[in-house]
Symmetry: C2
Subunit: 457 residues, 2 copies
């Protein structure tokens, strides 16, 4: 019977501190039955989350206590860094069983991140056929359709009818756990078309499969980057898609859950990159995390020093009027923010392919106008604030003028820099921030202090 | 026959400037056949993208010229702001046909964003049954499972066997275009379980459906927020999930493509919110965009003024040593960056539920350590740079000390503020940035200038 419990409330799908506490108690008491009962009630994905969230020592002890009840699928759900840790803890024999339980795409996913020795060990657990399949997948470039696809395909000759296909499936024992289409091939295993199970089931037995295949089905080349694959699934609402080699032969199938995973990872990567964080994980060690964040900070230091050098040019003016030092961060900060707004919209639009050669100029004009409008509005505000604060109309005017220039420059660089980076094939999410901050800082300080020096003295 | 053209290369799935140019020419020449031929070759999702990317005038003319060939499904694929524009351009009769062609979830999606008058017009196009269904869905809260689900469900009595189900489907004409599960209900339409088509097709005719339903299938309450729904699909690799009312009755089904859409939107929202951009679209008007970005900029102005006020407290010290004004942005900028790194990781981890009550303290300790390590490293660097630049060991020491304090405070506030906001149910993606920037700016300037004033004079 299905466990048809309605998930109630917002926290239904979440590892609670209470549950973690119970697991901890069971492990400390070395109560295997209790631990097995607790974990059996959870989905493998939730068990993986639980393992990720507890202390490494507790995780090690829990895996040891769980012992032979260990569910292989948990491995696929774990974060990379924890996968490796856990694999090295499993007894050799148990490791072999775990690997044999997994589907080909999960083994590929697991193996590609391991070091050479662990990789050999995992592959040696497979029988010759499975190992050949995995090794074949590993021939494709990293992060390509070939790595993402699974090799278990429900393939039938293209001349079959519905009845033959159903009879074939009823007699077949090795079908994948989840599948949604039958793939039709010619005698040379070239892809001919695919028919959805829904369509097949609602057709009469004598219907030819060729008559009910999906229109407009574009096979995915095995070398296509996974990012493009995810885009295609999202854009065309695909559920499963055939993957073909260069010769048009059907080599695998990608299902939407894999694509969804990639889409999720891509979005995560963009978010983290925009903030100058690499592909770090919450489970990395402190030292690794500090090291990963270092490059962006050092680049930021360089741009900050460049901005300071600009200020240094005007040290005489600041010496004569300290109010300049007090007000100058306002201009730079507003420019930085306006620039970040523009660049984030641009980076996202490039990632989703909403910003293309067709509309780039229109979007650039649009961003410039937005920058100009907000520049004017904030010029008025800071002009008044600055003027009153230091009882100087001319200081207010300088601040206002600098604000217009900086916010316009910020908006323009916020759109032009990502587009430019994309053109030269550098990931705009990764690099735009540095350039835009440099531009807004340098222009902000230069405009404010330069105009001040020119007008006030 | 399927159009089995392998998509070759990176640009295969993209609207090219060339294509846009051809469409433009066809519209200008009022060549309907040519336009229809160009658009017929495209997927509806690509046609929608094309319409989004061209000028509003060209879009209007293209829709007019496309005329009776207009494909209803294009509407569902369009960005909201363009949907509205296009609906108001369609002749009343054509509008009705368009609406009738759509599935219930697409109509709900369309209708919920329209103004009252357009909403009435669209609903009046439907027959009584369809209208009742759509109006029922609109009763559920915005962004809930009830709004997301489609009402077309393939439902069968739970006592049926495989053969009966297949015969039923063969005789049924109104099946949804895509479906992957049969939903089993009792006589009161309460949800009992679901069986995958793959499982059904590979079972013998006399197999009872109840014996092949999926284990561990949790129905989704209609009031569950769509964000949670997307999480469940992603976490548990679901393809379709039953939606039930409070009484346990099956009211609809959500499929993974809808969930993928939500996941995509949520990630987009987080990215934009982190940059202080609302739910703006590339297709909004300049003035609307400027207005939407204004609130964050005004908040940023307030924090910038607060930082200036801190500097103002030390104007005497700056007057005595202008080097302080030159160097102070370095401290604040580094703090701002380190804080942004921490907060982005925290916001993302909260969104993906990797950061929970179970591991919060460990992550907080980890971030503090990272902040401290990088603080020490950059203290050494800027201490030397500042000391050499202004030939003053004590100025270098002041800079180094301020850097340690600021980067530690940045890391700590970058993790504590998002967690705190989540606790009081404010979206951390939306508000964390402001708080963290304020903390890093104020602490940065205060630490540097305060220590300088205390030590140097």
């Amino acid at each position: 019977m299905a466990q048809a419990q309605a998930a109630s409330g917002e926290n239904a799908y979440r590892i609670t501190a209470e549950l973690t506490g119970q697991v901890k108690e069971a492990v400390q008491a070395q109560d295997q039955d209790c631990l097995v009962a607790l974990l059996d009630a959870l989905h493998v994905a939730d068990i993986a989350d639980l393992f990720e969230q507890v202390d490494p020592e507790l995780r090690r002890d829990a895996v040891a206590l769980w012992g032979r009840h260990f569910d292989s699928e948990v491995i696929s759900e774990l974060d990379e860094s924890i996968q490796e840790e856990l694999l090295s803890q499993l007894p050799r024999e148990r490791l072999k069983e775990v690997v044999r339980d997994l589907e080909s795409d999960d083994v590929v996913d697991l193996v590609e991140d391991l070091d050479a020795e662990q990789q050999r060990e995992v592959l040696s657990a497979l029988n010759d056929v499975d190992r050949a399949v995995v090794e074949q997948s590993l021939q494709y470039p990293e992060e390509s359709a070939g790595r993402l696809m699974q090799r278990e395909i429900v393939m039938v000759p293209s001349h079959w009818d519905v009845g033959t296909a159903i009879d074939h499936m009823r007699s077949e024992t090795g079908l994948p756990e989840q599948f949604y289409h039958l793939f039709l091939t010619d005698p040379k295993v070239k892809f001919v078309g695919m028919a959805s199970l829904g369509r097949i089931m609602s057709s009469r037995r004598e219907t030819r499969l060729l008559d009910i295949i999906e229109e407009d089905c574009r096979p995915i080349p095995a070398t296509m980057p996974e990012e493009e694959v995810a885009y295609a699934f999202n854009q065309y609402h695909l559920i499963s898609a055939p993957v073909v080699g260069e010769d048009g032969r059907l080599v695998g199938v990608i299902t939407i859950d894999d694509a969804m995973n990639v889409l999720d990872e891509e979005a995560e990567e963009d978010i983290l990159r925009l903030a100058g964080v690499g592909s770090e994980s919450l489970y990395d060690r402190v030292f690794d995390t500090a090291t990963q964040r270092f490059p962006w900070l050092i680049v930021n230091l360089a741009t900050a020093i460049a901005a300071s050098a600009v200020i240094d040019q005007f040290s005489e003016a600041i010496g004569m009027m300290v109010a300049l030092a007090v007000l100058m961060p306002i201009v730079a900060s507003m420019g930085g923010n306006a620039g970040t707004q523009s660049l984030t919209v641009a980076v996202r639009a490039l990632a989703t392919k909403d910003l293309t050669g067709s509309n780039a100029w229109r979007i650039i004009r649009r961003e410039s106008m937005v920058g100009l409008i907000n520049g004017l509005v904030f010029a008025a505000i800071v002009g008044v604030v600055g003027g009153i604060w230091f009882s100087s109309t001319s200081l207010g005017a300088v601040l206002a003028l600098a604000m217009i220039i900086t916010m316009f420059a910020a908006a323009l660089s916020g759109i032009l820099i990502p587009i430019g980076l994309e053109r030269v094939r550098i990931d705009p999410a990764l690099a735009s921030g540095v350039f835009v901050t440099t531009v807004t800082d340098v222009i902000g300080f230069f405009a404010f202090l330069g105009i001040a020096a020119a007008i006030l003295f």
